[in-house]
């Protein structure tokens, strides 16, 4: 049941315990208790809408930054990754395989803000060897949701 609930909320966080219970054939109480536990255990980390941010912050700038770092003898990439993730400009941060080590998503109010973050904050951190910044031009899909509408195609209204 736990995974089923997580899957459903991940898809649509506005489902109520009652709705979830009906779909899973469980009682509302059971589901509410499970959700509470998942919240307490920090498995559910929060709820928020997937929105078109350009509406409320039209000048918002996002970038993806590839970062090469020198791992430390104790702690490898962990310390530096945790340190970078403390910056409020950083919205996501991953350790990745391949030609660089950290993949960072940052956002700022203006292009200048993001550029300043990279040059004065990120690249000056001890252990950061190099950065490569890609500014995002247009978003097509986020968290599994396409951001453009496709024409609806209607089935026959009745079929055997």
């Amino acid at each position: 049941m736990q995974n089923e609930i997580l899957r459903m909320l991940n898809e649509n966080a506005r489902l109520t315990p009652g709705q979830i219970a009906e779909r899973l054939n469980k009682s509302e109480k059971e589901v509410a208790a499970m959700i509470k536990r998942l919240e307490e255990d920090n498995i559910i980390k929060g709820y928020r809408a997937i929105v078109d941010e350009s509406v409320f912050s039209p000048n918002c700038v996002k970038a993806i930054i590839e970062v090469k770092v020198r791992p430390e003898r104790d702690g490898g990439f962990n310390n530096i990754a945790k340190r970078v993730s403390k910056f409020s400009e950083v919205s996501s941060l991953y350790l990745v395989s391949g030609g660089f080590d950290l993949l960072i998503e940052v956002q700022g109010g203006t292009l200048q803000e993001v550029a300043d973050f990279v040059s004065s904050k990120l690249s000056t951190i001890e252990g950061v060897i190099s950065t490569s910044t890609h500014f995002l031009l247009k978003k097509y899909k986020e968290s599994g949701k396409m951001l453009h509408n496709e024409d609806e195609y209607e089935r026959l209204k009745v079929s055997p």
Partner: protein, 392 residues
């Protein structure tokens, strides 16, 4: 102009002119004249074919694969099908001699019946059932022999009723579990008993398992797996439902080589082969389609839980179907006939359901509600039905 009816009295073959038109057709005409209808009358997935499958069809066209295939269908697809049946159904078929690709299960069913029926042979099937069964048998000059399945038996066919329907002319029994329109499935014990009767009376079993992936709680093995059954079973399956590929028109039949060979003759002369684009897409569905299929199945399962609970809560008794995407609630107690219920619900509340009688006379007192519709539509439709019966 002369009255064409009287002038051309004999234009239409007798066995065709006596065929009834599908009751679903009438309803279709009616619904089509209305706007903003929530339809629970649609017997196909509301999902579009998963993108990776559509993409492989596009790629097939891009590569210029636009020819006929062998009559039996692409060998690579037949191999993929037999491997899938071995893994998921514990069925062992030879892709070269025991498998044929068809234009949907519709054609596979037609081939199976035409290949085995002599005029006057009886084919037993269960009602309420898919609208094509009795006409298919009649068109092949066979005699359709319906066996009623009952609500108190969760719409499973009773082996005793099967036995009682057998005569010296019985050639085959046609099974469809999970069932359209009831969603019923059979237990292992029921299948075992039916298998034993079929063997005892030397009867061929045609099993239409088009909904088999969409089985929710307990899944019993295919009747073809029971001892002595593979040699007398024609196993029909396809891609329409589980892979949401109704528009691709692709299905298959597996069975003993002599039967498949006979079906192959009919297919060769009537259809030639199924579309190569669809065949290549179907191959992709089997290779990489499992996770998308599971996702759709989870969604159907949730919708089933909701619709069944809502019907029972509002006082319309509804057996919990174990498969397919149909609920078959009893509306007898409203005092309305199935037809009146469906017509009034449509005109007063703009919700389309199909009268149970479209699937056989014994469907009177029931309606078929397909839950291959969005959860929002299902919930809204249930509110409207509740309102509707309150005011009766």
């Amino acid at each position: 102009m002369k009255d064409s009816k009287s002038h051309h009295k004999k234009r239409i073959a007798e066995h065709i002119s006596v065929l009834p038109k599908s009751g679903i057709r009438d309803f279709f005409e009616l619904v089509n004249t209305m706007d903003d209808v929530i339809s629970l009358g649609i017997g196909e997935p509301d999902f579009v074919t998963p993108w990776h499958i559509r993409e492989s069809a596009i790629y097939s066209l891009e590569k210029g694969h636009t020819s006929y295939t062998s009559n039996l269908g692409l060998l690579s697809l037949r191999k993929e099908i037999c491997a899938y049946l071995e893994k998921d159904y514990e069925l062992d078929y030879d892709p070269v001699r025991e498998c044929i690709i068809t234009v949907g299960v519709s054609e596979a069913l037609d081939l199976a019946i035409r290949a085995i029926v002599n005029p006057g042979d009886e084919i037993i099937y269960h009602e309420p059932c898919y609208v094509s069964y009795a006409p298919e048998i009649s068109m092949a000059h066979g005699v359709p022999v319906p066996v009623v399945t009952r609500e108190e038996n969760n719409f499973a066919i009773s082996p005793d009723d099967f036995r009682k329907a057998i005569t010296p002319k019985t050639k085959a029994i046609l099974l469809n579990f999970p069932c359209n329109p009831t969603g019923a499935t059979l237990t292992v014990e029921q299948k075992k008993e039916i298998a034993e009767i079929a063997i005892e009376h030397d009867i061929i079993v045609i099993t239409d398992e088009i909904y088999s992936e969409l089985t929710y709680d307990d899944k019993s093995p295919s009747i073809a797996t029971f001892p002595g059954m593979q040699e007398r079973t024609i196993f029909l399956h396809g891609f329409s439902k589980a892979f949401a590929m109704t528009g691709s028109r692709i299905g298959y039949a597996c069975g003993p080589a002599d039967l498949i060979d006979a079906m192959m003759k009919v297919h060769q002369y009537s259809m030639l082969c199924a579309s190569i684009t669809a065949q290549e897409a179907a191959e992709e569905a089997l290779r990489n389609g499992r996770s998308e299929m599971e996702k759709m199945k989870r969604e159907y399962w949730q919708r089933r839980n909701v619709i069944v609970k809502r019907f029972n809560d509002m006082g319309l008794h509804c057996v919990k179907p174990n498969g397919a995407f149909y609920a078959f609630p009893r509306i007898k107690d409203t005092g309305l006939s199935s037809n009146d219920f469906a017509k009034r619900l449509l005109s007063e509340k703009k919700v389309a359901v199909i009268p149970g009688t479209a699937f056989g006379a014994c469907g009177e007192g029931f309606v078929r509600c397909a839950y291959a519709a969005s959860m929002e539509d299902i919930v809204e439709a249930m509110e409207r039905v509740k309102d509707f019966i309150k005011k009766l």
